[in-house]
């Protein structure tokens, strides 16, 4: 490093070069630390999108991206906390600001890459074109095109929102135990989003775009708040687990499971209420008509 600084013309250039090298070093560190997770995500996309072509609809990318966004937020945000080395990391030359932003950039870039690239392959039918170089049918016919642009937007926004929610929680967690809480917070966010979507219906265009904007604002706010807290965070290196933690986590898991079941019951009740229309509100259709009604309908149809 010192040799490099010696070659620079002015102190300002030297500072800029050092900053660049710090940021590039931090990014390289993120790659080294998370390459297995990135390879796994890449493999899932390659298998699902290119080899077997299961990911042929943006809905698949939403599911895949949300899961990856959650996992990436945990991994990129709470790497040092999970390793128990944060206290020592803060003693190194890179500032907290540089650390937070570099990890955020790496995480956002990976989420974007793993959502936009699959969407592009779907839009352009790229797997079919590549398979078409080798075979004539079976893998070559394009899948039905999804007309809803909203789904494509949601396939990018939702994973980013999940990343933006879990990343600051994980970054500000002082230990692995708190990291687990951050992960649960992400899942709670997922559940809350799912429950809210039953009311908001984000698949309708107007609600959907408003929903996207709300998620963007929420995610940006969470990241900004996380950044503010991270600058003041006390770097601690705590043991991985404390006595009684496993039992608490178990009961927390049970409570979340019960909440999910409750939400599902409420949702199914809503659906069943919507379907059950009083029979006397409509003329009997042929599906529901009694035989005599059916005959009367038929007689009325005859010119």
């Amino acid at each position: 490093m010192s040799g490099g600084l010696g070659l620079m013309g002015s102190p300002a250039e030297a500072v800029a070069a050092r900053r660049t090298s710090v940021v590039s070093g931090l990014l390289w560190r993120e790659w080294i630390a998370h390459q297995r997770m990135l390879q796994l995500a890449l493999s899932v996309w390659l298998v699902g999108g290119w080899v077997l072509m299961i990911f042929n609809h943006p809905g698949w990318i939403i599911a895949y991206g949300v899961l990856y966004g959650w996992a990436a937020g945990q991994a990129f945000g709470g790497a040092e906390a999970s390793e128990g080395t944060e206290e020592f990391a803060f003693a190194l030359p890179p500032t907290r600001r540089q650390r937070y932003l570099a990890r955020l950039a790496a995480g956002v870039a990976s989420v974007l890459a793993l959502t936009v690239a699959p969407l592009l392959t779907i839009v352009l039918n790229l797997p079919q074109k590549v398979w078409g170089l080798l075979v004539e049918s079976g893998f070559t016919d394009p899948f039905p095109h999804c007309e809803s642009r909203l789904l494509y937007v949601l396939a990018v926004v939702l994973p980013l929102a999940f990343f933006a929610l879990t990343f600051p929680l994980a970054a500000n967690s002082p230990s692995r135990r708190a990291l687990g809480w951050a992960g649960l917070g992400g899942w709670l966010g997922l559940g809350t989003t799912g429950a809210a979507s039953l009311v908001i219906k984000p698949w309708t265009p107007l609600h959907g775009y408003v929903w996207c904007q709300a998620l963007a604002v929420l995610g940006t706010g969470a990241l900004a708040a996380g950044y503010a807290f991270y600058l003041r965070k006390e770097g601690l290196s705590r043991p991985d687990r404390t006595p009684g933690e496993g039992r608490r986590a178990f009961w927390l898991f049970v409570v979340i499971l019960l909440l999910v079941c409750l939400l599902f019951i409420v949702w199914s009740m809503r659906v069943s209420t919507r379907v059950a229309v009083p029979a006397n509100r409509h003329a009997p259709t042929a599906d529901t008509a009694l035989p005599q009604d059916q005959e009367a309908n038929d007689a009325a149809r005859v010119p």
Partner: protein, 534 residues
């Protein structure tokens, strides 16, 4: 061929380039290290097992192809007895159109199961018996025929025999009054019934399309089958020594009689819909390949997992190996197709082998265009037997992409469309989205398609005229009513209607309907005033 190799080479080069790039990116730089590999023993075991599975898939595929040819040849060569002398004569019949009871007669009774996938009947199994009248009066002939997933059992006995001189006074027909209780048990079709036999050839039943599961360790599916069962009761002279012929010869000589048993409904339906209720899988990708391979897909997936253990980055290796395995399956598919096409075009092969190849060619997944071109070539080869040409043409239509079929809506040669112009009015918008190979000017086919799309609800009269094959005044039309739904609005101008006569052919239509779509329409018989539909 060279172009295909170049394409393959290009894809391989790009893949290798990507792998090298990612390997360098992952292993160079400060702090980067190589990922730990599995122990050498584990890698050897996994590699051997994976390669064994792939090798077994190749061997199993070859065995499956050879087995289909062996079974077809074996069925075709089953010896059956036929009359060597002319039919028995009964000189005591006084006038044309009159009948007398027969004192004694000898019969050959056969129960035959054939495969009609190709439009021609290919024999599969047969049971034959010899009966003497009146010695065997009341004797119950009980037997059964079984095929994979399909069982036909029957109990037959003769009640009486009559000789009848035809109205033109030329021929004498022996009419047997017999009773047959049969029982058919198939995966999606079960029927039983009683047939009072008055003619030589009686079609018992058919069980729709049957497709065996792909055998384990084979990437070629078993050929599809549409089995049909016949009962043949043929009078022979008492002094006839009988001769033995192969089953294939017997069926080919009898095929006109067998085909005559198909109702006009079904014959026209077969023309309208090349393969009943099914078209080749289109735009299906990996799930369709997995469905086609059946249990073999799990084995191939296991092979990919095993071979991925040889590499340090196992997740990425799994993706690459899985792609290579799909290519391997495509390669096997191409090899099988080449073998089938060679047998199909081989003029020295027997017709059964060529027909089996014709059925096998349609089973390709990755190379339908090549298969279709090969079938088209045989269909237009004047030196090929007519049966083979017809079968090849049928399978060619089956493999044609829907876009190609949209431009052809021909009426069969020498036939006028069944529907009057009423049916072809522009409001028939439903057919813009109907699979194109179903798009034929036969109203019953349209009705079936609509039913298939669950848009046809009340099946009633389109044309106002009953089936033209049933012009007898005694035929009363029957209105078939299926499920009703408001969705019917887009279908055939709002009122989708088919008139089916209440004769045997109409019943056959109803049977075909229920076989094709799994539900029988409910009947509402009654006098339908023809004029009110006009």
């Amino acid at each position: 061929m060279l172009l295909a190799y170049l394409k393959l080479l290009a894809v391989l080069l790009v893949s290798v380039g990507l792998i090298v790039f990612m390997r360098r990116a992952g292993t160079r730089g400060p702090g980067a290290g190589t990922a730990p590999k599995r122990r050498i023993v584990t890698r050897v075991i996994c590699g051997v097992l994976g390669i064994l599975i792939l090798a077994a898939a190749a061997v199993g595929t070859r065995q499956e192809v050879l087995r289909s040819y062996a079974e077809a040849a074996e069925a075709a060569n089953i010896p059956v007895r036929v009359a060597s002398l002319p039919r028995p004569d009964f000189p005591g019949i006084p006038d044309a159109g009159s009948a007398v009871p027969v004192d004694s007669c000898r019969f050959l009774l056969k129960f035959l199961v054939g495969d009609q996938t190709l439009g021609v009947i290919r024999p599969v199994q047969v049971k034959e018996f010899e009966l003497q009248w009146p010695k065997d009066r009341g004797r119950r002939v009980e037997a059964g025929l079984s095929l994979p997933g399909w069982t036909l059992s029957f109990a037959f006995h003769l009640n009486g025999v009559t000789a009848w001189r035809s109205a033109d006074g030329r021929g004498v027909e022996v009419v047997a009054s017999a009773h047959n209780d049969f029982n058919l048990d198939a995966p999606h079709h079960r029927s039983s019934g009683t047939i009072e036999t008055y003619s030589e050839v009686v079609r018992l039943d058919e069980a729709g399309t049957h497709v065996d599961e792909t055998p384990l360790l084979s990437v070629t599916p078993a050929p599809r089958a549409e089995w049909i069962a016949y009962q043949l009761l043929m009078p022979v002279r008492q002094d006839d020594p009988l001769k033995t012929v192969s089953l294939a010869q017997f069926v080919s000589s009898f095929e006109p009689s067998l085909r005559k048993e198909q109702s006009d409904w079904e014959q026209e339906l077969r023309r309208a819909i090349p393969i009943q209720n099914e078209s080749p899988p289109i735009s299906a990708g990996g799930p369709a390949l997995a469905a086609r391979l059946g249990q073999s897909s799990l084995l191939l997936l296991a092979a990919a997992l095993l071979l991925a253990q040889l590499f340090a980055r196992r997740s990425l290796a799994f993706a690459g190996i899985l792609a290579c395995i799909v290519l391997y399956v495509a390669l096997l598919d191409r090899a099988v197709l080449a073998s089938q096409l060679a047998r199909l075009s081989d003029r020295n092969s027997i017709i059964e082998t060529r027909l089996t190849a014709c059925a096998g060619v349609a089973g390709t997944f990755f190379f339908r265009q090549t298969a279709s071109a090969g079938l088209d070539k045989v269909a237009h080869d004047q030196s090929a037997p007519p049966t083979l040409r017809e079968a090849a043409g049928r399978m060619h239509n089956y493999l044609r992409p829907p876009e190609a079929n949209q431009s052809r809506v021909p009426s069969p040669p020498g036939r006028s469309p069944v529907c009057p112009p009423l049916c072809d009015r522009p409001s028939l918008s439903a057919f813009a989205v109907t699979p194109a190979h179903h798009r034929k000017p036969f109203f019953f086919a349209r009705a079936l398609i609509c039913a298939h799309r669950r848009k046809l609800m009340s099946i009633c009269a389109l044309c106002g005229s009953p089936c033209r094959s049933c012009r007898s005044p005694s035929d009363q039309p029957v209105v078939l009513r299926g499920r009703s739904s408001p969705a019917c609005g887009g279908c055939l101008g709002g009122e989708t209607v088919v008139v089916v006569p209440s004769c045997r052919r109409g019943s056959a239509f109803v049977g075909a309907f229920s076989r094709l779509y799994g539900e029988a329409p409910s009947h509402s018989s009654g006098g339908l005033n023809r004029s009110r539909w006009k």
